[in-house]
């Protein structure tokens, strides 16, 4: 297993499969139990270092670490060096001095977790919990985990990802991970929201959502900030939602068994209608539950390596 999880592209097929299988194990060991705690990471310290607000991701990591019996510290460093607060380096040195074993970092600057892991400031394992418009690897893992539970092996499956790819760390991580797992990804967005050079990504692209939906095994809608129209990425929220939003009419174009995913938080009425979000084929709430299992797996695999503690099986 890799030492830091910075990009979904760092995971080999074996690594990714190991994480997903371990997450299955975590689910099996805790689902339906009154006491959901495993003693696996007892005595280990996990710091949630959040330079950017994200209640859902932070809570998910916090729950995951606590269920593994790790000591969890929430370090919300609002305001990075960008806003004249403490620098990333000084924060890192502080965490190192406190003896953090794992640092889960969320940052508005792309590459900040990479800097943290490679600058020699800390020895802890670094898990990227979302950096700028770069990546969000545990989100991709939980998405893959959710899809795998419903669709089985993802090799050859058709996954459609729709929305603001340009600014989406979720899209980047999903494309990389799904390519590793052998799925066939199509990104759908207005041309303004597809990054320059996307023809080199391991996926297909389309500007036409209706076209892309017909063969889909799963459709993932990305959050689109309506402020984007101020920078002329699209003319209006209404036009965006007409051309790229998922509504009941479009859902009817999908195969009946196809899943609907969304990383949250949703803009209901913008990229997805309430009707679709709450439909039987929506696994959006399940993604949140699975997020905890996947993050348990990641923390376990990264932090328990040097530990002599029991395996989850033994502990259970």
């Amino acid at each position: 297993m890799i030492r830091h999880l910075l990009s979904a592209g760092d995971l080999s097929l074996d690594d990714a499969t190991l994480v997903l299988d371990t997450a299955d194990e975590m689910a099996r060991l805790t689902e339906g139990r009154a006491v959901k705690k495993l003693p696996t990471l007892r005595g280990r310290t996990v710091v949630n270092l959040f330079f950017e607000d994200s209640t859902r991701t932070r809570t998910s990591f916090e729950l995951a670490a606590k269920r593994l019996s790790a000591d969890v510290v929430n370090f919300s460093a609002k305001g990075s060096s960008l806003s004249k607060g403490e620098s990333l380096k000084d924060t890192a040195l502080t965490l190192e001095a406190m003896g953090a074993d794992g640092v889960v970092v969320r940052h508005s600057a792309s590459g900040a977790p990479y800097r943290l892991a490679t600058s020699g400031w800390i020895n802890a394992c670094v898990v990227n919990a979302g950096d700028g418009t770069h990546e969000h690897p545990t989100q991709a893992l939980l998405d893959a985990f959710t899809m795998r539970r419903h669709l089985g092996d993802l090799a050859g499956k058709q996954i459609v990802i729709v929305g603001d790819v340009l600014h989406s760390r979720v899209a980047r991580s999903n494309v990389l991970l799904l390519a590793t797992l052998g799925a066939e990804v199509t990104l759908v967005a207005p041309p303004t929201l597809l990054p320059n050079g996307i023809e080199h990504w391991p996926c297909a692209t389309s500007y036409d959502l209706d076209d892309a939906l017909s063969g889909a095994d799963a459709v993932m809608m990305l959050r689109v900030q309506s402020e984007r129209m101020n920078a002329a990425f699209f003319p209006s929220a209404r036009e965006y939602s007409r051309r790229y939003g998922l509504d009941a009419r479009r859902q009817a174009l999908m195969p009946p068994e196809a899943l609907v995913l969304h990383p949250g938080p949703m803009n209901r009425g913008m990229e997805i209608t309430a009707e679709v979000a709450d439909s039987a084929r929506s696994v959006i709430v399940e993604q949140v539950t699975n997020g905890v299992y996947v993050r348990m797996a990641v923390l376990y695999l990264m932090l328990a390596g040097t530990n002599t503690g029991p395996t989850p099986e033994e502990a259970a």
Binding site: L82, S108, G111, Y114, R115, T118, L166, R172, P195
Partner: protein, 436 residues
Amino acid sequence: MSGTLITGARVLGGDPQDVLIDDGVIVALGAGAREQAGDDATTIDATGLIALPGLVDLHTHLREPGREDAETVETGTRAAARGGFTAVHAMANTDPVADTAGVVEQVWRLGREAGHADVRPVGAVTIGLKGERLAELGAMAESAAGVRVFSDDGVCVHDAMLMRRALEYVKAFDGVIAQHAQEPRLTEGAQMNEGELSGRLGLRGWPSVAEEAIVARDVLLAAHVGSRVHICHLSTKGSVEIVRLAKERGLPVTAEVTPHHLLLTDELVAGYDPRYKVNPPLRSAADVAALREALADGTIDIVATDHAPHPVEAKDCEWDAAAFGMLGLETALSVVQHTMVDTGLLDWAGVADRMSFAPARIGRCDTGDQPHGRPVAVGEPANLTLVDASTTTTVDPSASASLSRNTPYEGMKLPGTVVATFLRGRPTHHTTGGTA
């Protein structure tokens, strides 16, 4: 007769000859020099060394006044002397901005006091670099500093009307506008060259067209008003093509390229190390190849360092928070040797032209009381740089004379060493004797 006898130097890379300098002037060259020197002359054995005219940098950030934690005129010009430069043009983006006669005279005077290299201040085009109102260009031109180069470098003079007026206005005193070509709306929040890698890294892209659109506009404006325009740190293949076309049509445009744009590519950004963060950004390998070719064929007139010192904390952080800029004075000649001479694209006479004669001409410091970029000939000022092209050195940031350490070449092996630099006959740098 006293003076300094330099023996066996290969002037501009030619056959070895002796050079006798006295009282700041080259007094003899070749066969007669040794006889004329007499017994009391200091002799410097330059066997195997290349002798170049003192290098002239048209684009240096000395940071004083305002950011003396990053660089001062004294430390920056000491770095210049070590890099073989005898004159540097100090950019205007100081604090306060060099937009008045008072500030440019202060910088000019600090240069004279330090004595390591002549400092030619660049005046701001607009007050406070704000791009709104012209600074008092005439007052700066007439000041003791004798400013001839005007630039808002760091920001683009993007208002076409203002640029037109500036180009016209400086004709009265033979000035030149040096444009930082960067269309602001296309580069809001931009972090690196826009391409496959920026998309993958999630860093805001800086498209080539943002530079090329301004280059194209400004060569047309310059042609329209009959003024010369100089393009700072040209970085893209497309800009090269525009300048080439403009020159074919006889338009009055000159252009510079930095050493780092001749050597480094955007692939280096992949590790998010802010040492590689620079404005304009590092571009693709195809751009680098086009820039080298353009410097060789004269489309790009000069190499200018864009030496941009920053304190440690400005680079020891996440990419978005880091400052733009790289050191350049002490490594410029080595990078040019590596990319242009050792590749066969340019000979040493060509280096002398691109790094001394041409920048001095563009900056109008090739005439006057203390000219630079003059031929290595009898009667000319003894501004000389001796280079050992046979060495290879690993770049060590801690060995720099600059106050800052933000070199992108740390650990790289580069060819050539500046052995000595003479400013009007006085050694401002000597590898054995240290700096003056």
